[in-house]
Subunit: 247 residues, 4 copies
């Protein structure tokens, strides 16, 4: 089961806000990707690299993806700048077994929308409200070591209706004081791969430094990591054998 | 599809609170069952009767159940007074195709717990908070004619974790101002039957007079009503036929 | 609930095989769309029209879609000839509430793949094997009036792994004598709409004249038909109100 | 995540057939439990013990269960001999986080029926047919290291309709030559625990010596093992805090 092999994580970030906006740079001076990567690097069992939008091929070459077990994705304002060819490459790699964790505003990333098949639209409000994420599937590995809920003191609000397919497993539901709820931890199988959407992580708040949030991301990476599932054959096949049954 | 046949609904109520407690009688002078039944009687396509705990066989004789397409259930303090034999009878009838709608405190009824296989436990608080039920599956027939959310001005709070199996379809998630969320509209297939759990309806509030709540209950009754599904054969069977394939 | 309003069905067919291949024309002289439409026209509660690939805008103008409650889709060899603009139009209409029923080789249609987010690939074999579709959710309205299984004497085989998201509800599983199984009746909610994939219907076999198959398609059309679900608001919203709670 | 802690497995077996019937004793001379346990003992990461029906408290004392992460269950003819008190104890322990793997004829065990809430009835036939289990969720950890399908040369047939709740995740579907299909690898979350039903394993066939079957059971034990999920609080709670939001 590869327990002794590290899980190879690539943390992808748009990484523009942090360079263009002093307020956001103050929160994430090295970029959101580094805030996530530095935590995972300190955990046993992970091998971590990062990639960003403005690198060649967005840092997501065939080689990088081939050696990635879990891709973590954060994007916000530049979704349209991600090349369709790279999106298709990531999509194929997910269906072939790579895990994908889409964070916060990545609900509108090309790759998440392509995998979901829906608009992934939602309601939002940016007042820095207290988000409370309730665990609703306490036996799921992504909830291991988590309390009954996670409080994030200041976050952007996302509210239902969230236009996604019903999750295969719903792990968290968020509560916001202004009157909204949100399906905020959503597991999907797609092809041989797994996808986890996790709601928190607005660029103007220090969410990715919060211990519980980091812990959930690490849990999710373990859950989503490539497993050695069957190699699938498609296309024209012969009858598997002559079978007869007699009573 | 039986569109011209009325859906035969039996509304079951514990009907003790309304007799023992003047405050509750003031809200539901004829009992909660009548508040629900009177609405359904006014809608086209329903044939409605009621049954209560203190009737012989709790009003749920073999004959009554055989002629019931949807059983609506409200209980609270006297769950233990429901005879196991009647619970088993209702259970068998659900698996054979009768719909069951369990309301509010019926999460702790014997029949709901038996069908769920879990404790059905939850958090609660009785401050008369504003409940807001968000639709999270807007194409489901139970959400037909409903707005984005339903506000109930005063309700008992129920909070997660709600110890139920993951719903086959989750239609509503409730928000409460005190910090909780709740999966408040839950659809299940069980055997040839269908079960809907709907959270609102505390005995001290006039919830069952509210138009949106009544509308959802009628939608749920239409969804849960017996369909003419296959008669199932169990047990020892012969191979269905000799089958050969040649490439 | 609109019981008195007919369900407006548009049956869409590629309609090329029937014109180019005498063998297929012999089976479906007026086209597969007409074989399906003629049955629905005879059922109460439907208003039926057809549309085909080679009509302007593939027969799927904004006006046609706006007045369609359920779109039934059959395509096979000319998936690539369907304009992306029309696919996007159908996609948007499904998310807005229109039902979509994709038949057989339409698993590879652009619209189905776009809604699923996966390759929708599978195994296949064309020996005219006996397909047996077992009902595995007997309380679902699509299984109403169906026996324990449906036997289709001669069909193309489709086998797992079928690269689709786990269905919201799985109604049928097919058995083939050559050794394969297939998830052959798959329900999905997408946005405010509903999608049903139904496996049978190869162009060289008279499947769409078989009573049980026609019955399932009619059931599916009733299940998938637009319901009057909530109009969804997306985007920036205000906190719904000031809410305070005191213990 | 406890990767360094062994998973504590208890293999429970009715263990009567093997003592009363020479033919079955010839297949499993030390009992089915030992055939399963001996494999797990050889795998890294497991600590294994066994328990059987005729031990005091069926070998399932409070202490044993408290120190069990995964309970594997095989029963057939003596389901009724399992004391209700022990069933309730196992049930409570599953809801509190223990994994449960029910094998083959254990579909009719008291504990499985209690957790499912349905009859768990099915069709069966004992001709020693070839069972072929197809993987339909290739990214699930229970399918890790498995081929596209598993062939078991001789098994009892089980056929649909299998009266269970729709699995949270369906990993395997079985094909039988006599014309049947069966949902044969079914995952459920229940409370803080996880349940896996796995179909193969008739007492008269050497199924539990087959490498692929053993491999799946080990995968399932890893998947089902207790995770350190949130301790749940039920009952009356205070509003979590005073929250105010201003636009």
């Amino acid at each position: 089961m590869g327990m002794s092999q590290p899980i190879r994580v690539t943390v992808w970030n748009e990484f523009r806000h942090e360079q263009s906006d002093a307020h956001i740079r103050a929160v994430y001076p090295e970029g959101i990707h580094r805030a996530i990567a530095e935590y995972l690097e300190d955990q046993p069992g992970f091998s971590v690299q990062t990639a960003t939008l403005d690198e060649p091929e967005h840092g997501l070459t065939e080689d990088v993806l081939a050696e990635t077990d879990v891709l973590i994705w954060w994007g916000h304002q530049a979704h349209a700048a991600v090349e369709d060819e790279i999106v298709d490459r990531v999509h194929a790699r997910v269906l072939d077994g790579m895990g994908l964790i889409c964070l916060h505003s990545s609900h509108f990333s090309k790759i998440f929308k392509k995998l979901m098949g829906t608009t992934c639209n939602l309601k939002w409000r940016e007042l820095g409200e207290n988000e409370r994420l309730w665990v609703v599937e306490p036996g799921h590995p992504i909830a291991a070591g988590v309390g009954q809920y996670i409080d994030i003191p200041h976050e952007e609000m996302y509210g239902e209706f969230f236009d996604i397919p019903e999750p295969d497993t719903l792990v968290f539901i968020s509560w916001f004081p202004g009157g909204e709820v949100f399906r905020s931890g959503c597991c999907y199988h797609r092809g041989r791969g797994k996808v986890f959407y996790f709601r928190p992580g607005h660029e103007s708040f220090p969410t990715f430094y919060q211990a519980e949030v980091r812990h959930v991301i690490a849990n999710a990476a373990r859950w989503a990591a490539t497993t050695d599932g069957p190699e699938i054959v498609y296309g024209n096949v012969q009858p598997l054998e002559e079978v007869t049954v007699s009573a």
